[in-house]
Amino acid sequence: MADISIDNIPYTVAEGKNLLEVCLSLGIKLPYFCWHPAMGSVGACRQCAVTVFKDVNDTRGRLMMACMEPVRDGLYISVNNASARAFRAQNIEWLMTNHPHDCAICDEGGACHLQDMTVLTGHAYRKYNYPKRTHLNQNLGPLIHHEMNRCIQCYRCVRYYKEYAGGRDLDVFAAHDLVYFGRAHEGNLENEFSGNLTEVCPTGVFTDKTLRQHYTRKWDMTMAPSICPHCSLGCNVIAGERYGSLRQITNRHNPFVNGYFLCDRGRYGYDFSNQPQRIPEPLIDNVVATPEILFNKLSEIVINNKLIGIGSPRASLEANFALRQLVGVENFYQSLSEPETELTKKILAINQSGTIHTPSMADIERTDAVLILGEDPTNSAPRLALSLRQALRNQPLEEAESIRVPSWNDAALREKIQDQSGPLYIAYPRSTKLDDLATHTNHLAPNAIADWAFALAQLLEQPDSPPASLSNQNHADLMAIAQTLKRSKRPLIVSGMSLFNEQILQAAYRIALALNKQDQKTDLALILPESNSTGLALLQAPSIEKAFSRASNESIDGVLVLEQDLYRQFPLEKVDGFLSRIEHLIVIDQIHHGTTSKATIVLPSTTFAESSGTLVNSEGRGQRYYAVFVPGSEAIRPAWSWLNDLRQIKGGLQVEELDQHPDLLSELIELLPEFAGLDRVGPKPGYLIHEQKIPREPHRFSGRTAMSAHLTISEPKPPVDTHSPYGFTMEGYRGLPPAPLAPYYWAPSWNSGQAVNQYQQDFNGELKENFYGFRLFPGPVQTPVSWSAEQPENISNGDIELVPFVHIFGSEWLSSLSPGIASLAPKPYLALSVLEATRYGLEPDIEAKLQIGAKTFTLTVQIHPEMPEGIAGIPYQIMGLTGIEWPSFGKINPETS
């Protein structure tokens, strides 16, 4: 610890930080631009100037940039003396010489760091009376709007985009006061994390283009803490609403999960909830049903009928559990195929086993050597890929310790380590976005990945008896990899189920175990497909195929499908066959799809932003999301609430007796020990601060009494929320709520998202109170995972083995319905090695037919020279390529159809 004095007030602070971080965490309002908590200091903007004195007797002192000054004992500084204040005001004045006076029409207005900082320094009157320089803007694609005239040249965007996120198509051009930040030519930003530019940019240069479609000022949005529903990582987000539609997703800081950044699928996927395909009313045989008719019909089906339920990996734990309770555990299935069910079971078993550590994203950023087996994380778990990029700096940074530069001195460290990157090994059928950092890549077919990984496992397990079947080259490579992984202080293995290959999983586990023998410091991160894949797996339901076969063997009266389109998952004939044997199909979902069109009853459910619920991410972290708003139609209800009604109807209750608010989570925990502790995901429903709720609306929220004046002149009663600590209006607790509960980031003087620094004790560290979700791994009962010797045979019938390539844009259903994301999704393609393309006489960009089972698809040929022969890749579950069961084989350009 260091004793320092700031403006004659003594503080004791931790050593190793810079003065800016220290001031901000002490609540001292020191303006800054170029510094970023996750990206460190470069000292470019010169905004954070303070006066540093030699000692108490020094009256003049020297101006220093706080972000570049390490804290040391005895430091004597002033933030508020006249010379430091004058310089900071002058610096803002310089920045403002070329900044347009367009706050009123600027998307950033009211949530603008530049505005905040300008007000903080007191610069108000313009003395510069020459023309401003102007720039042309670029069209950067569907997600981000570009307005270069507003640029204050803090360089954060390029530092973030190039250096932090590894993007290569955004840069800084020209010099002196003409520097320009953009692309070489107009076009879509290529990096999957480009959306963070909108938060990284301290002013209105990079703004959310999707928000522009339904623009709302930050202060006019109703907001709540939420969890991203678009992949298995469970990034924490803030969702904002106005006039009944979801308007924007911004990052919510969770030091263990997403830190300061989201991926573009997560940020821009929200717009599915505003689409016309939303189901507005309950339907019976495709006709809108009144509550009475619906109640009668539901009663008819639910009471005294044999029902089965099909749970969903993207529905909340509460909804899945309510369904399980409704139909009974013996009738509860999950909407996964047999192989998928087996894979998730295995992943769960590994994570619960206690034999290997399941890392959080923060853990991942601390690893120093990475092996990726059969995953393309940028596409299958995007935010994790961003963390991997940071992790790969750890080894070179360690070597750089000799120059004794603090870890926040970003530029100096980058200059020292240059382009070096720690060891990264990737085995995947084709090149991935992380290949640019890889020490070694191996492009192999799924089974070959498994073989290769088994050989590595054996080398690690028994270094003295290497596998015989290896070629010399392979052997040398593997030896080198094994050595490096062994030497690593904290190796990480990343794998998952995207290739539907259980052997890869097994090999990954064996490698991790072998490495872990040394010092128990190995991490194994296993990627799952959906936001609640882990939660559903914990409920241990049989696969849907078990339901299919049951339906053909015995008579089942009704099926309840929870938030899933079976036609998307399974071949048409299979689903049709299944449904034809069933009299009543009830589907609960948010959006119309193939299965809803077949349903007897469709019950509209809420999106993640319209209800609260719990999801368990791939790390086993249960996390709670809270309703941002109540949907305009009362008929749209949380799936768990519909299901709970059905439970009560089944129990004989009448409409007016239905209890709306059961505590499903408590019931779940009581019943299933795997979930013990999960009630700690968030505060208890009755949580109040100083007897008050936390308001979802900022205190400046405007137009509340006028918003529905066109419908009724009296203001409708705001909805009451009994499930959460939040109120739906701006009334309630006025202070800063505990950080993990903050529905948005705001603090006095800090209107932009950078207000988050006022919630933190420690940058990059924990927020002030602890509701970061609750980790369910390892499980209560711990046993090593074993594999049966037999491996399921894949029968090819002479067809080519198909490999599913997951895409960040398009492979996940909900986000793929958002127009911005949809426009970035790939068109159906067939990816082949050169050899395979020659074999079939195919050339790039021509169309080819691919027959899978009974169905034939038309695809555009892509040739990937790096791909191995014997396989063909197709994008996983994108629009136009659904209803394929994995693993899968196909015929390319079959003779006849």
Partner: protein, 159 residues
């Protein structure tokens, strides 16, 4: 001017030699741009992309560097480039008169190229000929102690 579709063998050979001297190809990018500019006079968008590919850089990355420096030409220049010193010693010694005369003779201003594509006129920072100011360079030749009346003759020696 349409750029060639690939780098020439001699360009590649010269670039490869530079790459050998540095730890990674991109570190030779400035040398590489000079080499290509020497052959082609300037660096078009197409050339830039070719070069970027060769060095394992993105177009944006290379253009970021190209546009930072004064002597990498991202727009076509004339057959001869006149760099007229506009810095302090030449200012004191009357470079403005030289500029006006050049401008009259060639009918162009700073940053422009003559209609016949013969000359491009650029201002340049101090050429290190301050004791012989005013000074200018045409291509690789330095002209010290300029007098306005010499200019027509000097220009005439550049076809």
């Amino acid at each position: 001017m349409k750029a060639k579709q690939s780098l020439t063998d001699s360009e590649i050979a010269a670039i490869e030699k530079e790459i050998l001297r540095v730890p990674l190809p991109r570190a030779a990018c400035i040398e590489a741009m000079k080499i290509v500019q020497e052959h082609r006079g300037w660096i078009s968008d197409d050339t830039l992309t070719l070069l970027a590919d060769h060095l394992g850089m993105s177009t944006a990355e290379l253009d970021s560097i190209a546009t930072f420096y004064n002597l990498i030409f991202r727009e076509p220049v004339g057959r001869h480039v006149i760099l007229l010193c506009d810095s302090i010693s030449c200012y004191v010694m009357g470079y403005e008169k030289i500029y006006l005369t050049l401008s009259d003779l060639l009918h162009i201003r700073f940053g422009e190229t003559t209609a016949d594509g013969r000359f491009t006129l650029l201002p340049n920072v101090c050429l290190g000929a301050c004791d012989q100011a005013p000074a200018m360079m045409i291509d690789e030749d330095t002209y010290p102690r300029l007098q306005a009346q010499q200019l027509a003759h000097i220009l005439s020696t550049y076809p």
